[in-house]
């Protein structure tokens, strides 16, 4: 997990994103601004000395937004920030999901428009690649498309919020029943029902464009078209699908939204989108877009495809005979000076016991310092040779 996190953060740094550390404990009211009701319920809450409510962070975009509007208030926009850390959520549902999950994310704050959207989506794709995933794909949608459809319906507001709730639950059976009760049946109604199927390459934009007759949806389609073209320039045409049926929190996201999927994993590995209203709530109105990667799921994907990162191996296990401790400590120090990973034993051992000890550590080489300063050198599974310490260091540093 650590290796995956490092790989993703390194990719983010290559895109010029600055690493920030945010608190794990936040004011509940502040955190709640960026969360759906369901997510708010799942936060672990506790009360502060003065009776105000605090919560452990269930995601890290809000803390980053607070940072950008607070401590980094004077930093010029756009800000490119990235973060990594645990997020904690309680899960009262039927599954006992892990309560502590790990996320790495990035936020581009203070840049609006398709170029910024495309940058973040392209970076998300490259991050999944940097994590070692193959065969991932990114689905790009737009929250305005659905909002436009909804605005266009001639329905009382309570029906509209009912439709939103049904869509948020992905209940298309309920949605169909609800729309059947409405007096009007237009192409836009049909579009709402075909929501999850509106997915593909650039041609679906044209097809959808013929069916919608409201400015907001049209604008969403135009933006998606621009982002799609830009992603082609990033070399990601194959990886990206347009998905007008993407369903995310409709009140939070204000523009292009996206999700990354792996092969044979039941939920998205990465999620993100544009949220232009959040920063304003902390007193520094700014356009913003970003995403996060679910590290635990990425790890699961890597394990399933047999590409789990190897555990880092020890280069040398340094054992010693009764008289060799001082030399062993010096040998360990020299090896580390050359950038190798070395462990020096805590007790004297005979040659056979030392071999077993080194094998248990998984070290590539066993070096046993003997009386008289000679070093017995045995590569894992290899033949034992006796050489002076300097020669052993030189050979190991030389890569043998």
């Amino acid at each position: 997990m650590r290796a995956t996190q490092e790989a993703v953060l390194a990719e983010m740094r290559r895109w010029g994103y600055r690493y920030v550390v945010t608190p794990s404990l936040e004011n509940l009211d502040a955190l709640a601004l960026g969360l759906e009701a369901d997510q708010r319920r799942r936060l672990f809450k506790l009360s502060d000395g003065d009776g105000s409510l605090l919560a452990l962070v269930g995601e890290r975009t809000v803390p980053v937004a607070r940072l950008a509007a607070g401590k980094l208030r004077t930093a010029p926009l756009p800000l490119r920030l990235c973060y990594a850390g645990p997020v904690l959520t309680n899960d009262p549902d039927r599954f006992t999901r892990r309560r502590e999950a790990h996320q790495v994310g990035a936020e581009l704050i203070g840049a609006s428009g398709s170029v910024a959207d495309a940058e973040v989506i392209a970076m998300a794709a490259r991050c999944l690649e940097a994590a070692g995933l193959h065969g991932y794909q990114v689905d790009v949608g737009h929250s305005g498309f659905f909002q436009g459809l909804l605005d266009g319906l001639e329905l009382p507001p309570e029906s509209k919020s009912g439709i939103k709730a049904l869509l948020a639950r992905r209940d298309f059976v309920g949605l169909e029943a609800m729309l059947e009760q409405t007096p009007l049946r237009s192409a836009e109604h049909e579009l709402l029902l075909r929501f999850p199927a509106l997915r593909g390459q650039a041609d679906i934009l044209e097809a959808a464009g013929k069916l919608v007759r409201n400015r907001r949806s049209e604008q969403a389609l135009e933006e998606l078209s621009r982002v799609h073209t830009l992603l082609g320039a990033y070399g990601l045409g194959e990886t990206v699908n347009l998905d007008l049926g993407a369903i995310r929190d409709f009140d939070y996201y204000t523009g292009v939204i996206f999700e990354g999927y792996g092969q044979d994993l039941g939920s998205p590995l990465a999620q993100g989108g544009r949220y232009d209203r959040l920063l304003g709530r902390f007193g520094r109105p700014a356009a913003a877009t970003g995403f996060m990667v679910h590290l635990d799921l990425v790890g699961e994907g890597l394990r399933r495809s047999g590409r789990a990162p190897e555990l880092i191996r020890l280069d040398a296990a340094v054992a010693w005979s009764a008289a060799g401790l001082d030399s062993a400590l010096r040998l360990g120090a020299s090896l580390r000076l050359f950038g190798m990973r070395a462990v020096v034993d805590t007790q004297a051992r005979g040659q056979a016991a030392a071999r077993a000890w080194a094998a248990g550590l998984g070290a590539r080489h066993l070096l046993r310092v003997e009386a008289g300063g000679l070093v017995g050198w045995a590569p894992a599974g290899g033949r034992l040779r006796r050489l002076p310490a300097e020669q052993v260091v030189a050979r190991l540093a030389g890569g043998s």
């Binding site: 599954f95 992905r170 298309f172 059976v173 999850p196 199927a197 997915r199 039941g266 939920s267």
Partner: protein
């Protein structure tokens, strides 16, 4: 390969009929009952308990699932509920002993004690009605509970109403209507769009 989870119990025959009618796969009830997992005609069919279908689909171990709406009330998740398959119809009802004074909502006590296997659906209904409720979660023979004075009423599923009558219970209110539904994993819809859409379209076309 696309996989579909179908439930044991009352919805099994209807699920197999639908798969056969739509020309997707022809499966013998005994065969699937014995093997639990059958791969045929490019489709993997798994037989699981009704309450477990949503779990298989939500985690992506099955791309599609056939499941009663009554189970979905209790298992909300990230799956897509795509098609009303229109079989296995039944009603979730609030029922009380024939001699009970419970009738219109005005006659309900300030706090009602209710036994049920459906705590989520019951809680949502009572909240809609503004009724304070104390829930006793039972796992079987819910009809017995009011007769023994454990609760004022029960919330349970009924198809014909016979079990209720046999236990001298009558319907006080309808909580919800249930039929079999076709559900899909959220990621499968994105990563296997074409194969899945084709299958869903075929099943939808053969809903009777």
């Amino acid at each position: 390969m696309i996989s579909i989870a179908i439930p044991t119990g009352v919805l099994l025959q209807g699920s197999l009929d639908l798969l056969r009618r739509s020309g997707v796969v022809e499966l013998d009830r005994e065969e699937i009952g014995r093997k639990l997992l059958v791969e045929k005609d490019g489709l993997r069919v798994v037989l699981v308990r009704p309450a477990d279908v949503a779990a298989y689909v939500d985690y992506g171990s099955a791309d599609l699932g056939v499941v009663g709406k009554d189970q979905l009330w209790e298992s909300p998740g990230p799956h897509y509920e795509l098609v009303d398959l229109c079989f296995g119809g039944c009603v979730l009802v609030l029922a009380a002993p024939e001699a009970s004074p419970l009738d219109d909502p005005e006659t309900w006590p300030p706090a009602m004690r209710v036994a049920t296997k459906y705590p989520r659906a019951t809680a949502a209904f009572m909240e809609r009605m503004g009724q304070t409720v104390e829930m006793v979660r039972l796992h079987g023979s819910v009809e017995l509970a009011p007769q023994l004075g454990l609760v004022d009423a029960i919330v349970d599923l009924t198809a014909s109403g016979r079990t209720l009558r046999e236990n001298r219970l009558r319907v006080v209110a309808e909580v919800g209507h249930s039929t079999a539904r076709l559900i899909a994993n959220q990621a499968s819809l994105k990563t296997r769009t074409e194969a899945l859409q084709e299958l869903v379209t075929r099943l939808r076309a053969h809903v009777s």
